[in-house]
Symmetry: C2
DNA sequence: GTGAATGCAAACTCTTTGCATGACT
DNA sequence: AGTCATGCAAAGAGTTTGCATTCAC
C-alpha cells in the first residue's frame, strides 16, 4: 500500500512541479523517487545518506532547497519529533496520513494511524477560534524491543 | 489558575531537587521562578532574555544545563513545535497538561486542552503494542489575528 | 543564450562541552 | 576542603545563504 501511495505521489509531485513551471531536474527527481519509496519520515541527513548509497549523490544544500520547494508546494510535510532534527515525508494527495511514535531509547520511528484520534482532532479544530490546517501527534515511550 | 499551578510547581521542583541531593543554586532558582510564572512553553533563548530583563542574568550554557536537569527529573518537558527550536514548560505534578497551537504566520503560541482528545490518545496508547509515556499534539494554522 | 538548478564553501543559529572560577555544605 | 554549580569560550550539529558552474529549455 505504501508503495502504491508512494509511486502515485511521485507522478503527482512531478505534475505539480511541471505545472508550476519548474524544469526537469536530476537532484529533484532523485529526492522524489526516494521519498516515494519510504514508509515514514526521514531527516535531511538520512536522505543524503540514502541517495549516496543509491549512487545518486546530491549536495546537502540542494537537499534542503528541494525539500523547502516541495514543502511550499504542499507535496511534503516537515516534522519535528523531539530529537532536534526536522524530518520530511510525502503528503498523500488523497489526504491519508499517519502520526508517529518515537522510541526514546533507540530512536526508532514508527508510524500509526487512528480514526478515533482524527475525529477528536477534527472536532477540536472546529471548536477552536483559529484555523487549523494541519496537525501532528507524537507519542514518546519505549518500543517493544526496548521495554525495560 | 496557571499562577497557582506555577507556584505549587516551584515548591515541588525545589523539593524534588533537594531530595535528589542538589544544592541551593542561584541560577536554578531563577529558572524555576521564571518557568513557574509562564502560561506556556518558552525557548532557551526566550528564557535567557526574560532572565536578563528581570536582572537575573544566567549564562546560556547554564540555562541549557539546568533545563536538562529539570527534564531528567521529570519537572519540565521539552517540546519541538516545528520552528527549529526546543521549548520548555513545567510539568504539573497533578498531571494536568495542555497542547499547542502554533500560528505559522506570526509565530504566536497558544495553549489549549481538550478532554475528548486526551481520551482518544489514552485509548490509542492502550491499543498499540508500545509503552507510550508521553504525547504531544501540535496544531498548525493561522490565528485569529493572522487570518487571510 | 537565458534563467533555473546544483554544488561547494562559508556563514548562521541553536545547543553542547571543556575548563577555570565561584558558591554551598 | 571538597564538590557541585556557574560562566565563558570554543566546538558541534543542523540548516541556510552566496556565488560560480552546469543544465534544461
Amino acid at each position: 500500500m505504501s508503495t502504491e501511495t508512494g509511486s502515485g505521489w511521485a507522478e503527482h509531485a512531478r505534475a505539480v512541479l511541471d505545472q508550476s513551471g519548474h524544469r526537469k531536474a536530476r537532484a529533484r527527481d532523485a529526492l522524489i523517487d526516494l521519498l516515494a519509496s519510504q514508509p515514514c519520515a526521514l531527516s535531511a541527513l538520512e536522505i543524503e545518506d540514502h541517495l549516496r548509497d543509491d549512487g545518486r549523490r546530491v549536495a546537502r544544500a540542494s537537499i534542503y532547497r528541494i525539500l523547502e520547494l516541495l514543502a511550499d508546494q504542499g507535496l511534503v510535510s516537515r516534522l519535528e519529533l523531539g530529537d532536534g532534527t526536522s524530518r520530511y515525508e510525502l503528503i498523500d494527495p488523497a489526504g491519508e496520513h499517519h502520526h508517529h511514535f518515537l522510541c526514546d531509547v533507540c530512536g526508532n520511528l514508527l508510524p500509526f494511524d487512528d480514526r478515533d484520534l482524527e475525529r477528536s482532532i477534527d472536532r477540536l479544530a472546529r471548536r477552536l477560534q483559529f484555523d487549523a490546517r494541519d496537525h501532528e501527534v507524537v507519542l514518546h515511550g519505549s518500543c517493544s524491543g526496548c521495554r525495560s
